[in-house]
Amino acid sequence: MADMMKRVPVREQDPKVRATNFEEVCYGYNQEEAVTEAARCLNCKNAKCIQGCPVSINIPGFISKVKDGDIEGAYEVIGESSALPAICGRVCPQESQCESKCIRGIKGDAISIGKLERFVADYALENDIKPKKAEETNGKKVAVIGSGPSGLTCAGDLAKLGYEVTVFEALHELGGVLVYGIPEFRLPKQKVVKKEIEKVKELGVKFETNVVIGKSITIDQLMEEEDFQAVFIGSGAGLPMFMGIPGETANGVFSANEYLTRSNLMKAFDDSYDTPIVAGKKVAVVGGGNVAMDAARTALRLGAEVHIVYRRSEAELPARAEEVHHAKEEGIIFDLLTNPKEILVDEDGWVKGMKVIKMELGEPDASGRRRPVEIEGSEYEIELDTVIMSLGTSPNPLIASTTKGLETNRRKCIVADEENGQTSKAAVFAGGDAVTGAATVILAMGAGKAGAKGIHELLSQK
C-alpha cells in the first residue's frame, strides 16, 4: 500500500540532459500513477480546493472519475469550467492556489491536482475526445481581441452558449503568451497549445490572425461596420520595461520578451528557422519572476553560462518555487541581493560587462516585501556578453488609445469590473493582463470566464 501522506512523484527529464535540449522537462503521470494519486483525495464535501481555483473546476469531481479509471468522464467535468486544462495543468501555480487549500496538505503532501489535471487533459488530446459544443448558434456576433488565455477562455465559453465568436490575433500564431512567452520545455507548442486551441475551434470559434486591433481596424469599426454586438479585450500586457541605466541600448541587451519571442514564437533555437538569436556565452538575466526563469533556462539551453541577477533575496523571488528549483537543478547561478548600475559597452557597441552593487534588505515597502537598499561602496564588475532585462511588462496602449471612451488607470491598465469584465464603454468588456498588468495564465482565464458571463448577461437581455 502506498503511503497516503506522500504524493506520487512525477517523472522528469534528467537535469543534465535537459539543460541541452528544448524537450519538455516534466513527463507527467501515466494512468497507473494518476489513479494511485487520485486515490489519496479525501473527496471533501466542502472542497476548499475549488475555492482556490480561479475558474472553480470541480476538483474532487474530476479526481474521483480518475480514481474510477473514467478519464473521459474526468475530462468532461474539467471541461465544464476550463477550456485549456493541458495548459493549466502545466503552468498554473497550483501550490499557491488549489493545492494550498488541500486538506491532505495539512499533515502530508497536498494532492497533486495540477499533475492530475494535466494527465486527464493529455489523455483527451491523445485520444481526440471532443468537447461538448452548442447545438445551434444564436446568431449574435462577439469579437474577442487576443488569442491568449483570457481570450481563448472567453471565446470558448461564449461559443458553448451559442454565440458566433471571432478571435482577432495580432501575431501570426494563436495562443498569445502561451506561444511567444512560455518556452517549449515548459509548454510544448505543437503537442499541447496547438491541439488545445483546436478544441476551441471545434466549439465553433473562428480565428483571424495578423489583425492588429487599433491599427488594422478599431473596436468602434468592428461594432459599427462588422456588426459585432459585444467585444472582449484580452490583449495582454506586452510592453517590456527597461531599467533606464547607461548602456541599455547596447548590442546584446534584450528584453526578456524579445529573447523569448525569438526562441518561442520564431523558433530561433531550431536552425531550420530563419530568425536569428544571440546565444551568448555568459548571460545575465535581470529579474526574479517566472519570465526571468524562462529566459535564463532558454539561454542555458542555447549554451550559455547564465546568472540571475536579482535585487532581493531568495525568499522574495516572485517566480514559482518549482521554476526556481528546476533552474537551480539545471545549473543557473543566482546572484541574489545584487542590482545592476550600468551596462559596460565595448567600442563596437556590444555588451562587455555589467557594473552591479550589493544590496541588503531594509524595512518592508508598500508591497510588504523588505525593501532592498544599496550597500555603499560595494560595486563590482562582472564580465558578460549578453544581458536580458526581465523587469515586467505593461499593457500595450494601442487599443486604449484608439478606442473612444475606454477608461484606463495610472498604470495604463484598462479599467474593468472584476465580476463581469464590463469596461467604461458600452458592450466592451476586458480581462486578463490588459486589466491587471502582468499576472498568471489562470487568472487571465478566470477573467475571460467573467467576461463571457458579462457578455452573456448583456446580450441575452436583447
Binding site: 489583425v211 492588429v212 491599427k215 488594422s216 527597461f242 514564437l265 536569428p276 557597441g349
Partner: protein, 295 residues
Amino acid sequence: MYKILKAEKLAANIYLMDVKAPRVAEYCQPGQFVIVKMDEKGERIPLTICDYDREAGTITIVFQPVGASTTKMTSLKAGDSFRDFTGPLGCPSELVEEDLETLKQKKILFVGGGVGAAPVYPQVKWMKEHGIDVDVIIGAKTKDLLILEEEMEAAAGNYYPCTDDGSYGHAGMVTSKIEQLVEEGNHYDVCVAIGPMIMMKFACLTTKKLGIPTIVSMNPIMVDGTGMCGACRVRVGDEIKFACVDGPEFDGHLVDFDQAMKRQQMYKTQEGRAMLKLQEGDTHHGGCGHCGGDN
C-alpha cells in the same frame, strides 16, 4: 494566405510586389509599414508601405534581399502567397495628420535614397492628391538602380534624380543636391528623408546646417512590430523610443544614428551564416571562416 497579384524586378536587387491584403489596405496611411512572413520558417520582415489601393484591397511593397528570408522572397511570383501579412503598423506620417490648410502653406522637400524611394512615394502621391506640389530628390548609386521614376515624376512638383556615379541626373549624393537647391534660392519648411541609415544621417547633418526641420523614417531590427519586443529601440534626444509604435518617423536632428547603425549590425554574423547555408545548401560545411560549420 495573402496572394501576390504582381511581382516585378525594379532594378538589380530591388523587387516590387502587389499583395492582396484587404484588412491592411482599408485603413492604412502613408508612413505606416507592414510585417510580412513568407512561410512557416521565415522571419517577420518589416517593410514600408509603398502604395495601396483601397478598392482592390492591395498593398504594394518594395524590398531588397538582405538576409535569408528576403532572399527567398525574391523567388516569389504572381500567384504565389505570403503566409502572413500584418498591418498597417506604426504611426502615419506626421504630415498627413496635419491640418491641410497649414500644410498647404508649407514648402516640403522629400529625399529618398536607394530603396528609400519606395516609402517616400506614397507621401508624395498623397500630397499630389491633396493639391500640394512638393520637391523630390531621389538618389541611387547609378541610373539602373533608380526606381519608381515615372510614378515620382507624375506625383512630384519638381523631381530631381541623382546618381553617385553621374550616370543620370544630378551627379553626386542627395546631400549635394539639397545644398544646391537651397543655394539656388529655394526655401523649405520641412524635409522628409528616407533611405539607408547612413544616407539619413548625412541628409540630417546637411539640413541641420541649413536649418530645415527634418523627419526621418527609421527601419531598425524588429520582431513583432507591435511594441512587444523592444528590439527596435532608438535613442531620440534624451529618450528611448520604440520605432514600431512610437515611430517609424522621428525628428531626424535628434536621432542617434551612430547607435542605430551599430544596432543594425547585431545579427550580421548569424545572417551571413544563414545566407551561406541558403546559397550552398548541404555543400556548406564550414571553412568559410565565418560560420564554424553547421554545428
